[in-house]
């Protein structure tokens, strides 16, 4: 929450800075002129500026002065000493600088007494009284002189206009304006009002000024940076929170994805009940796969006697298992684990051919297959670790494979020995086949096929899967051709591929394996055709195993 608040604050500050930046360049943009005014003190008709005031803001200044109605305003500019001397002891107001951007600071100076006495004696020999108001070339001489006399007597400040002291001057009725360009030296402005009842003058100094917007760029840039930072922060926070929420929802699903496959089987608790089956298999044997049982009888021989493994689970268990797998598959699909399956699929077929060698299955090859197996069917992998797992994993299949592949037994040494006995026992007619005859094959396959077709309902899940893998079931056309080959092959084909190592028993074993889902592991739906054939030899391995392990 604090972070969100801070992020929001950051955004807010950024927006504010941008706004202020813009405002500084628009709303609050300084005027092109600096304009400040001041008014003389009440009762004073004179106002002057201190030296330096006129050009304190710019070299050029425009002076405007105004006064009450009817008063004449005079603006005069001269040396500071001259202005001061002209004002003399009269009351006046001095402008000392800027109080703020619109107001001039002033200093009121009261009149001092000696003024009057000083002025008169200076006049000397000439009729000086009339002189000041006359102003040189001023229009009416006689009349001006008279009014001048009156004014001089009445008001302390005569009209300063026309004095030789001024460099520039201006006057007007009620208002006047004057422009001045700064020069070296000390200069002052004198503002005076003249008239019978002259009021205090007001002066306004106007300087042009270069308006800069120093806060526009920093404000906007800084604001944008802040805003961006705030937004990014917010985005990060939002993203984080969303991910957290998602993770909470999908944690169960997601976990399998990340967890190594090898550990998966072990980890999944659901396999636990199923893991026991090794024991259960024996018990359930009769019920589970009668069909297989029959077929298996001939093949396993000695081993077959203990063929209990061939029927490891009850249907119910199978169903559950199937459902379980189905569920797993869905989950995996959801979670995207599927892709991992194909990989082991192809290798699985490869290692299979090696069956000739009992244990030789290379760890590397096994690993993927095993992984696939585990992924598909954790049950198989349950207890054991890596390589041992293979043995264990295949082991269950092996017996089953061994059982049906009785025909192939003849080929292999060990198998042979076992075959005769059981074979004779169960199906007298069949035994003959062991050598090469396909006869057993059909039979062996039949159980697979038939159940495949009929009991769909019952073992819908499992069979459905099998059927979906089309090739897996001998029923499909390609299989037909192949199966015979495979079936008969045990003698013919297998030898080819693996001399001295007949993989004959393949068909039935294959079916079994598939029935248990192993084949599925090896061949992903898409690759079935390719993966199918190679699978067969694997049965040999299974056969071998059954011989060895069981």
């Amino acid at each position: 929450m604090l972070q969100r608040a801070l992020a929001s604050l950051l955004c807010l500050l950024g927006a504010a800075a941008i706004g202020l930046g813009f405002a500084s360049a628009t709303l609050w943009r300084a005027s092109d002129t600096l304009e400040a005014s001041a008014t003389a003190a009440d009762g004073s008709t004179l106002l002057m500026t201190d030296p330096g005031v006129l050009d304190m803001a710019a070299d050029e200044v425009t002076v405007r002065a105004s006064a009450g109605s009817g008063d004449t305003v005079v603006l005069a500019l001269g040396r500071t000493a001259d202005v001061e001397a002209w004002i003399g002891t009269d009351a006046h107001t001095r402008v000392t600088g800027l109080a703020d951007l619109r107001t001039l600071s002033t200093d009121d100076v009261a009149a001092t007494a000696p003024e009057a006495t000083e002025e008169t004696p200076a006049e000397g020999e000439v009729p000086a009284e009339g002189e000041a108001p006359v102003e040189g070339e001023a229009p009416a001489e006689g009349e001006a002189a008279t009014t001048g006399d009156d004014a001089a007597a009445a008001t302390p400040a005569p009209n300063p206009s026309g004095s030789d002291l001024w460099l520039v001057e201006a006057s007007g009725d009620g208002e006047a304006e004057l422009e001045w360009q700064a020069q070296d030296g000390r200069w002052s402005l004198l503002v005076a009002t003249t008239g019978e009842s002259a009021g205090a003058p007001t002066v306004t100094l106007v300087w042009p000024q270069v308006v800069t917007t120093p806060w526009l760029v920093p404000g906007v840039a800084g604001g944008a940076a802040l805003l961006l930072a705030g937004l990014v922060w917010w985005a990060v926070l939002l993203l984080r929170s969303r991910r957290a929420g998602h993770a909470g929802r999908t944690r169960d699903d997601a976990r399998p994805v990340s967890v190594p496959l090898g550990a998966q089987g072990v980890a999944v608790p659901t396999t636990a009940p199923v893991s026991a089956p090794s024991l259960g298999w024996a018990n359930d044997t009769p019920t589970v796969a009668p069909g297989t049982a029959t077929t298996s009888l001939p093949a396993p021989g000695g081993v077959g006697t203990t063929a209990d493994p061939a029927v490891p689970m009850t249907r119910r268990q199978l169903r559950e298992l199937d459902q379980q797998r189905e569920r797993d598959r869905h989950r995996r699909r959801d979670s995207g684990a599927v892709p991992q399956v194909p990989a082991p699929g192809s290798p699985s077929s490869a290692p299979a051919p090696a069956p000739g060698v009992p244990a030789p299955v290379p760890a590397e090859h096994v690993a993927p297959e095993q992984a696939a197996v585990r992924a598909r069917f954790p049950l198989a992998v349950q207890g054991p670790g890596a390589s041992p797992a293979v043995a264990a994993g295949t082991a269950p299949a092996a017996p089953s494979g061994a059982a049906p592949t009785a025909p192939s037994a003849p080929m292999s040494g060990p198998g042979r020995q076992g075959v005769p006995a059981p074979g004779l026992r169960s199906t007298p007619g069949v035994p003959a086949g062991p050598v090469v005859q396909p006869v057993p094959v059909p039979t062996s396959q039949a159980p697979v096929t038939t159940p495949d077709a009929e009991p769909q309902d019952r073992r819908g899940g499992l069979l459905g899967r099998l059927r979906r893998r089309g090739p897996a079931t001998p029923v499909s056309e390609p299989d037909v051709e192949r199966t015979p080959a495979a079936a008969s092959a045990p003698a013919v084909v297998a030898p080819d591929t693996v001399p001295g190592r007949p993989g004959a028993p393949a068909p039935s074993a294959d079916a079994w394996r598939r029935a248990w889902g192993f084949s599925g592991v090896a061949t992903p739906p898409g690759e079935e055709p390719a993966g199918w054939t190679p699978v067969e030899p694997e049965e040999n391995a299974g056969g071998r195993h059954d011989g060895g392990a069981r």
């Binding site: 604090l2 972070q3 801070l6 604050l9 950051l10 500050l13 504010a16 800075a17 202020l20 500084s24 600096l34 201190d50 030296p51 330096g52 005031v53 304190m56 803001a57 040396r79 500071t80 000493a81 001259d82 001397a85 002209w86 003399g88 000392t96 600088g97 800027l98 703020d100 951007l101 002025e119 200076a122 006049e123 000397g124 020999e125 000439v126 009729p127 000086a128 009339g130 002189e131 000041a132 006359v134 040189g136 070339e137 001489e141 006689g142 005569p158 300063p160 026309g162 004095s163 030789d164 002291l165 460099l167 070296d184 030296g185 000390r186 806060w215 920093p218 404000g219 800084g222 802040l226």
Partner: protein, 327 residues
């Protein structure tokens, strides 16, 4: 916490940035008061003064009304102009001395006090006419520069070098001791020389000048007229205020003043026919008992600096009858 701290720092910085928006107010930065005083008037102002004075003179001259001169003319100049107007009104069309408005040399004062003195050498008023040395005086800040005197520069007289008007020339008090003779004493001694002639102890201090020669010749002329039938007395004294002294480049000064000469003639059983100008001033051309003539001489001296052996030279003068009385 770290992030919080950073954010807080950023916020503070932003606030500081925004708070610093106010620019400092401009403050007056006047030039320092110069160690050496600047000229009190610029050449522009001098031209203005000359122009205004000329305008006033022109107006007054045209009307021959003395009152019109009051704003711009004072002292000896006023007195002389008055006489000129009288003569003009009496029919003398050449009585009025033209005062050119154009300056060829300006001697601007450097001072911050009053009275102030401004001297100007004008262009020649006419061909073959000598230029005038005008002296203007501003007695107080609220007064104007007024024409105090004019002197015709003597032909061949050498104006002492003075500082450029942009630099200005110092005004010297009447008792300045940096000169060979203090300004006030220059006029007094000159009057003494006029009075006593060769007997004056100061005669050697002055170089010969046309004015002195002229005054003496005039006196002698009147003396010849009166002859045995009367007496003639003449007095000389400084008048009209002043003198005014402006420093020159060599440390000396130009001293401008006025000398009043009063000629008193007493007749015994005789009449005296007087000349045009005197008659004009008097209003009649014959006096039977006495005749009083007052002259004003507006003079300009070049005074050497103290220690100099050079004589005081008169560089220009205007000698005018200003008043005549007689019975």
């Amino acid at each position: 916490m770290n992030r919080l701290a950073r954010t807080s720092a950023g916020a503070v910085a932003a606030c500081a940035l925004l708070a610093a928006c106010s620019a400092p107010l401009p403050v007056p930065e006047p030039d320092a008061v110069p160690a050496a005083l600047p000229p009190a008037v610029s050449t522009t102002q001098v031209e203005d003064v000359l122009g205004e004075v000329s305008a006033v003179l022109a107006e007054a001259d045209a009307a021959t009304q003395l009152e019109l001169l009051t704003p711009r003319v004072t002292g000896p100049a006023m007195t002389v102009r008055n006489a000129e107007y009288v003569l003009t009104q009496a029919g003398d069309t050449t009585a009025i001395t033209p005062v050119p408005a154009a300056a060829q040399t300006v001697i601007a004062p450097t001072t911050d006090a009053w009275p102030r003195t401004l001297m100007v050498v004008t262009e020649p008023p006419a061909d073959l006419q000598p230029p005038l040395l005008l002296t203007f005086v501003q007695n107080s800040p609220r007064e104007q520069y007024q024409l105090w005197s004019w002197s015709r520069l003597f032909p061949g007289a050498q104006m002492p070098a003075t500082a450029q008007p942009e630099v200005g020339s110092a005004l010297l008090p009447v008792d300045a001791d940096t000169l060979a003779v203090p300004p006030a004493d220059v006029l007094a001694r000159y009057a003494d020389v006029l009075t006593n002639g060769a007997a004056s102890p100061h005669v050697a201090e002055f170089a010969e000048d046309p004015l002195t020669t002229g005054i003496r010749s005039t006196r002698e002329a009147y003396g010849g007229l009166v002859g045995e039938n009367g007496t003639l007395a003449e007095t000389y004294q400084p008048t009209g205020g002043g003198p005014y002294a402006v420093q020159t480049a060599d440390g000396g000064a130009i001293v401008v003043g006025a000398i009043q000469t009063v000629t008193t003639i007493t007749l015994a059983d005789s009449t005296l026919k007087i000349g045009d100008q005197t008659a004009g001033l008097l209003g009649k051309d014959t006096v039977a008992s006495n005749l009083g003539i007052t002259w004003i001489s507006m003079v300009a001296f070049a005074v050497p600096p103290a220690g100099s052996t050079e004589p005081i030279r008169m560089i220009g003068a205007e000698h005018s009858r200003v008043q005549v009385t007689g019975e």
